[in-house]
């Protein structure tokens, strides 16, 4: 099992993801530069947090055209596990692997604090280490995490069981308290909170461990 961690100019959680996976869980990781065009030998992909390409234009808008993401699109379509964290979630919506968009927090502030979440794993392969209704605590750190989609789309996502992570106390104005979304097949997960920052007891809390450890199941 080798996990590919994408690196764009401006990514800044790539090494946190590597520490969580490799340092805490013993899962081999490799960094994939954004200009790479293939995913040979990669069993799962993580798009980490940060500010890809400076988040110019919109968060994730430029990253979406990175060569490596063409390969990620094909990988996801073939059922490969893809996880987008924070800026990675923004990239997944911009590239159309997940619906909707992430917009400026309702209160305008950049929010950096622990967030209480409710888990509804459904078919999401990344969340099978949690039970329906589990309450977990993961750090959030974002200025543009307000999930936005129209009410019909939200209803459809809820009916499909794709709203797999919800804020217990909505910090940013996301519609439907959405903190994380899965694709219908369950292999793609995008979330604003940072599971990789909640894997090492030294940094406070290990509620993110079951998410990344799902790769070992």
């Amino acid at each position: 099992m080798t996990v590919g961690v994408l690196v764009f100019p401006g990514s800044n959680c790539d090494r946190d993801v590597r520490w969580a996976l490799q340092g805490c869980l013993g899962v081999s990781t490799t960094f994939l530069w954004h200009e790479q065009r293939h995913l040979d030998g990669i069993d799962a992909v993580v798009i980490p947090g940060g500010f890809s390409y400076g988040d110019y234009l919109r968060c994730g808008a430029i990253a979406r055209f990175a060569p490596v993401l063409e390969a990620v699109k094909a990988f996801a379509a073939a059922g490969g596990p893809v996880l987008g964290i924070c800026n990675g979630f923004q990239v997944l919506t911009e590239m159309g692997l997940l619906p909707g968009a992430l917009t400026r927090n309702a209160g305008l502030h950049f929010i950096c604090e622990p967030a209480e979440l409710r888990v509804s794993p459904g078919a999401c392969r990344w969340l099978q280490g949690y039970a329906e209704g589990d309450a977990i605590r993961l750090p959030i750190a974002h200025g543009e995490g307000r999930y936005q989609c129209d009410p019909d789309d939200l209803r459809r996502l809820e009916d499909n069981g794709q709203v797999v992570l919800r804020y217990a106390a909505n910090p940013n104005g996301s519609v439907g308290d959405v903190a994380g979304l899965s694709n219908p097949a369950g292999n793609v997960l995008g979330l604003m909170p940072h599971p990789e920052r909640a894997c090492d007891p030294a940094t406070g809390g290990v509620d993110g461990r079951p998410l990344l450890a799902s790769l070992l199941r």
Binding site: L57, R58, A61, F65, T93, E94, P99, G100, A101, T103, R104, N105, A106, G107, L108, R146, Q148, C149, D150, G173
Partner: protein
């Protein structure tokens, strides 16, 4: 090849909350202007494009407006194209 000048105006869809616009509206009141009832912040992108003719320019500009400059999930866009500058047709 002629160069077309274009201006793409990107605005948040009316249904999307614009907290930055609201904050700016509140600041206008602090400046003493109380009558601002609505303030929405968008983007204006100015560009110059080389294309064989106006129809080609139009379709290429529509493509980048819809797929790159704006995210249609949350934004609307409008496009204005100016005729090529006279100097480019000596």
């Amino acid at each position: 090849m002629p160069t077309f000048h274009a201006r793409v105006q990107v605005s948040l869809r009316p249904s999307v909350l614009d907290p930055a616009g609201e904050a700016t509206r509140a600041a206008a009141a602090r400046l003493g202007v109380d009558g601002v009832r609505r303030l929405r912040i968008g983007k204006a992108i100015e560009l110059e494009l080389e294309a064989a003719d106006r129809a080609t320019a139009q379709s290429q500009l529509e493509l980048i407006s819809d797929r790159l400059l704006a995210n249609p999930v949350i934004e609307n866009w409008t496009l204005e194209i100016s005729e090529p500058a006279a100097a480019e047709h000596p």
